[in-house]
């Protein structure tokens, strides 16, 4: 028995030999009884294996049907998953459209306020138009004081300075008259201190920092207010210094503390 040629038995059975090798091995088979026996045994084993596998252990008769049902269940499950996924996506999209998008686009409160600004002012306390400017200012200050935040509900009404009673007398004076009665007090003088005390009693700008123009107008107003109240006989008998004191004294009669300073 040629071992090299007999070694090709498996290759011959498997069909892995080339044409020349197959011809050579078939020539060897005619001479080698051992290879013929092995070849016959292998062919018989393969046939028996095929027969045994097919006939001795057949699959259960209902196996095909069970696999078919399993595929149907899987198909239904996938359909349900797809439908539920689609519904979930649609619901999420609906929520996003209804809730998120309008809020981002224009907040409803702002839009209402922008469309109906008069409604907002109408619900709050505003000074009636029949009130005088000074009364409107008083109402505004009262509402600011009553509020918890310290701010008024509406803008401060525009009240001309000359509408306030102490300064109303200025409204009847001409600029020339105002100039005549105007005098600049000396710096750090007693009268200037008294005037500061008088200014501190002003009701309309107790907290706000007054502008330079406002300060000048107030000083002019105070002095112009004091001038007409000056008695005529004092103007002739008393010197200028005494007249100043008299004016200051009359002015300070409004507040007892300022009057005490004058002696």
């Amino acid at each position: 028995m040629n071992d090299v040629t007999c070694h090709n038995l498996d290759a011959y059975i498997g069909g892995w030999l080339t044409r020349d090798e197959r011809i050579e091995f078939e020539a060897h088979l005619k001479q080698c009884a051992a290879c013929r026996d092995e070849l016959g045994r292998q062919q018989r084993i393969d046939r028996l294996l095929d027969e045994a596998s097919r006939r001795l252990q057949p699959p259960p008769p209902d196996l095909v049907e069970r696999v078919h049902h399993a595929l149907d269940r899987a198909r239904r499950r996938r359909r349900v998953v797809r439908i539920s996924t689609g519904l979930s996506a649609a619901a999420a999209l609906l929520v996003a459209v209804l809730v998120i998008s309008p809020e981002r686009a224009t907040p409803p409160t702002r839009r209402v306020v922008a469309v109906h600004p008069p409604d907002r002012t109408a619900t709050h306390v505003t000074p009636p138009s029949e009130l005088s400017p000074v009364q409107q200012l008083a109402v505004w200050m009262a509402s600011r004081k009553a509020s918890s935040t310290g701010t008024a509900e509406y803008p401060r009404p525009r009240v001309p300075v000359f509408a306030i009673p102490p300064y109303a007398a200025l409204a009847s004076k001409t600029p020339g008259q105002l100039k005549q009665t105007t005098r600049t007090p000396e710096k750090n003088s007693s009268e200037d201190k008294e005037c500061k005390v008088v200014r501190g009693t002003e009701p309309f700008n107790a907290r706000a920092k007054p502008s330079h123009r406002t300060l000048v107008e107030r000083r002019l107003t105070v002095e112009a207010l004091a001038a007409p109240l000056q008695p005529a006989n004092h103007e002739t008998k008393l010197p200028d210094i005494h007249a100043k004191e008299t004016r200051s004294c009359r002015l300070h009669t409004r507040t007892s503390s300022a009057h005490a300073l004058c002696g």
């Binding site: 892995w16 045994r41 294996l49 001795l56 252990q57 057949p58 196996l63 095909v64 696999v67």
Partner: protein, 182 residues
């Protein structure tokens, strides 16, 4: 007969129907292959169901229906390997074989000696290591060429060739000893 469906739905139905068309022919084949791997007909039935479920899920990968046999047996091999990894009740190739092979049906008309020969041949094959057993089964029962065997097992051609040669040599020796005893 329903109306034909077109477009993607029709293609899906065609592919899903293709897998279902494979059932009558390939369920017994996959079952026998799984039974040779597991030696347990319950596990083999589970492997068959799992194999066709995976095939149905991945039906788009089957582009050539003529390669369905390699495709399905490859899936069955992977299912069996996955079960071995999870290792619950599956058998290995070295498990001692029962005296009576489960599921054996005694055919009328077969003599006792013939039936005993068939059982003995199955026992010989089942006693082989898993790789040799698979290669021998696919070659002898499925008459599968060596390149397709390599595809089913996920190994290269030379490995399949060496395993098949060794399996044939071993089973020939066992069968020769069986013939001498009988």
């Amino acid at each position: 007969m329903g109306s034909p469906r077109y477009g993607w739905a029709g293609l899906e139905a065609k592919r899903g129907g293709l897998v279902e068309d494979l059932l009558p022919e390939y369920v017994p084949r996959v079952y026998r292959y799984a039974l040779r791997l597991t030696h347990d007909h319950h596990v083999a039935e589970d492997i068959v169901q799992e194999t066709f479920l995976r095939a149905w899920r991945g039906r788009r990968r089957l582009r050539n229906p003529q390669s369905a046999r390699v495709w399905l047996l490859r899936i069955a091999t992977n299912v069996w390997r996955d079960r071995l990894r999870n290792r619950t009740r599956q058998a290995t190739g070295t498990r001692p074989l029962p005296d009576d092979i489960p599921g054996t049906v005694l055919e009328p008309g077969k003599t006792m000696a013939e039936r005993e020969t068939l059982r003995e041949v199955l026992r010989m094959m089942d006693s082989l290591p898993p790789r040799q057993r698979q290669v021998l089964y696919l070659s002898a029962v499925e008459a599968m060429p060596l390149d397709e065997i390599a595809q089913v097992l996920g190994i290269n051609y030379q490995s399949a060739k060496a395993s098949l040669s060794l399996a044939r040599k071993v089973i020939r020796q066992q069968f020769s000893a069986f013939e001498q005893q009988g």
